[in-house]
């Protein structure tokens, strides 16, 4: 593994690259908006006033820091010491709120009056709708019609919060198509509207900015691990990867350590597993596509991971070997979801059950090791679906 100058998970190059990945592949009509956002984020992120205000919101509104939970029952069952970073306990029930509060605060600083966002499972949509309500901003969320049907509760939550949910009815009618619709919407209204993108994807500066807003997860976990591991770090840090924001957040706290970083993808949405680079939604990254470059539809039990691409920094971490990416099947995910419920009394989101599914499969290799797992969200939204499967 060759570490780039400045180490892993620092600032991207001036042209928004992490190694060979990233960039700003958007039509000319969106270039000024992306450049404006880049300037605004740089200025805000270097401003102690902005940082202080965001820290205050994360503490008083979102409930940070989130706890680190030892799992004695699960650990004894698997023979692996497992520590859970409890992002499921944040306000709105997932790590998504970290990024959204940062972007909403930034949007307000930029003088924007509206937010627009895409959502898959609805967690990012709910988080964005929440921030819009808090900041008094108008909000539109695009969601694929397939996802609207399987995540009814989150659709209602968004509407309750005052957000307009619009159906993305083209293509596979899931997250990828919701991103397309959001970009189409944004281009016409970028002067008044901030695109609150939910993951470490999209054109520069989003992959960098969203990772920085999620870095708090990794930094807290690093301190919390040090307390219980006598100043040490876990052997393995793992998280589920769709676009990859929760993984980027927790990896960022450990990129400069010897901890092994493992991202876990759904087998039906394994952009990194297939390792074919492509260009879609503003950046160059690994992308599931057919022999002609048409983007394929991802298929996963978890709506939040139904995305055929992956954030460009994950492609870079994979290409350089700093992180590895494993794939798990829906059946393994269902088993892990049940296992955590039964052993620790924690019903987690199907997304993070992917990470646990890998730990469970690799338990022989991980025997006696300490694994930090980002429990990125709670499972309330998935209970209905699981009742149909496990009922």
């Amino acid at each position: 593994m060759t570490a780039p100058a400045g180490g892993f998970m620092g600032e991207p190059s001036a042209d928004g690259r992490f190694g060979d990945f990233g960039g700003m592949f958007v039509p000319e009509t969106l270039v000024p908006a992306c450049q404006e956002l880049d300037r605004a984020f740089r200025s805000a992120w270097g401003d102690p006033g902005f940082r202080g205000e965001l820290d205050r919101l994360l503490r008083d509104y979102a409930g940070r820091p989130s706890p680190l939970t030892e799992c004695p029952n699960l650990s004894s069952e698997l023979g692996v010491r497992i520590l859970l970073k409890r992002e499921d306990l944040n306000h709105t029930g997932s790590h998504k709120i970290n990024n959204v509060l940062g972007q909403a605060l930034l949007a307000q600083r930029m003088g924007k009056t509206s937010l627009v966002a895409e959502t898959g499972a609805g967690q990012h949509g709910v988080a964005t709708a929440t921030a819009a309500a808090l900041f008094g901003m108008d909000c539109v969320v695009y969601m694929g019609t397939v996802d609207i049907a399987r995540q009814e509760l989150n659709v209602f939550r968004m509407r309750l919060l005052g957000t307009e949910v619009r159906a993305a009815e083209t293509g596979s009618r899931t997250l990828k198509d919701a991103v397309n619709e959001t970009l189409r919407h944004w281009v016409a209204v970028a002067d008044t509207t901030h695109y609150c993108l939910g993951s470490v994807m999209g054109p520069h500066p989003y992959p960098w900015m969203v990772r920085e807003f999620q870095r708090v997860v990794g930094e807290e976990a690093r301190r919390q691990c040090a307390e219980i591991l006598d100043g040490g770090v876990p052997d393995v840090v793992t998280a589920a990867v769709g676009g990859g924001s929760n993984a980027a957040g927790i990896f960022a706290g450990f990129a400069d350590t010897g901890a092994r970083l493992v991202g876990v993808e759904p087998a039906g949405g394994a952009a990194v597993g297939r390792a074919v680079p492509g260009i879609v939604h503003g950046s160059r990254s690994y992308l599931m596509q057919d022999e002609w470059g048409q983007v394929l539809e991802a298929e996963s039990i978890s709506a939040g991971l139904d995305y055929p691409g992956v954030g460009p920094e994950h492609s870079h971490l994979a290409a350089t070997g700093r992180a590895t990416y494993e794939q798990v099947t829906d059946a393994e995910v269902i088993e892990a979801f049940s296992l955590l419920s039964r052993t620790e009394g924690i019903i987690c989101a199907l997304e993070c059950a992917h990470a646990l599914a890998w730990v469970s499969r690799a338990r022989a290799d991980l025997a006696g090791r300490t694994v930090l797992l980002n429990l990125s969200g709670r499972g309330d939204k998935d209970v209905d679906q699981m009742m149909g499967i496990l009922g």
Binding site: V26, P27, E28, A33, V187, I279, W292
Partner: protein
Amino acid sequence: MTEAADAAPPGGTEHGWGRLESALRDRRNRGGKCFVPYLTGGLGDDWLETICAVAAAGADAIEIGVPFSDPVMDGTVIQQANDRALSEGATPQSILAEVRGASADIGVPTAVMTYANIAHHMGYERFASSLAEAGISGCILPDLPLEEVGEWAACADAAGVETVLLAAPTAPDERLPRLCARSRGFVYSVGLMGITGVREALAASATRTAARIKAVTDMPVLVGVGVGTPAQAAEVCRVADGAVVGSAIVTRMLEGAGPDGVAGLVAEFRAALDAAHS
């Protein structure tokens, strides 16, 4: 390699212009306005005949859309055309092969419009040479803005393919000369801040943006996105050198108007431009 890159592109003139730019300049030099319709490649059984009919009906050049699964700059009409063509089995290779077989019959320069991943997946060098071999003069990849176009544009230049760049209403003054310097064929002045599709009226930004671009370049400046009727095309050509019309034309294709029906609409655009600017 260097010599090849320095030479005039295949089909180019002594000025180094490619076929696309030469044809558009020629129309302008004769006091006319350029009309460039966009047609979705692979849409229906008669799309190639439709292209030939449209050329005969007065198009100065033709944009051929190569369908992509995620066309973020396109509105519902072109999305629908993309989806239908893809479901009918259209691929970049099938479209290019058919154009190659018919390029003598088409008779006017053509440019492919698609998205970067189609070219990236085939490899920029191979995609550029495939276009040249098919007799296609130009290429428009809207998700390669100025900052990202370099690698592709070098391959296109080497293959003699003219890379047309877009210029947006929000482009700052300092950006326009750089865009024009890198563009080949013509400069695609985006009519409004939004996606492709027919609008009730021409946006004020359409003529304003074209005027700003014309002030910094001698290259033909054509306005596209939001130009949907012959009257709107004539209106924008009070300032611009021409108009690109996609959704209005593709709507006719989707309705099954056939080669004659689509050519009839193109003839209306031609007549409107000739009447307003003769």
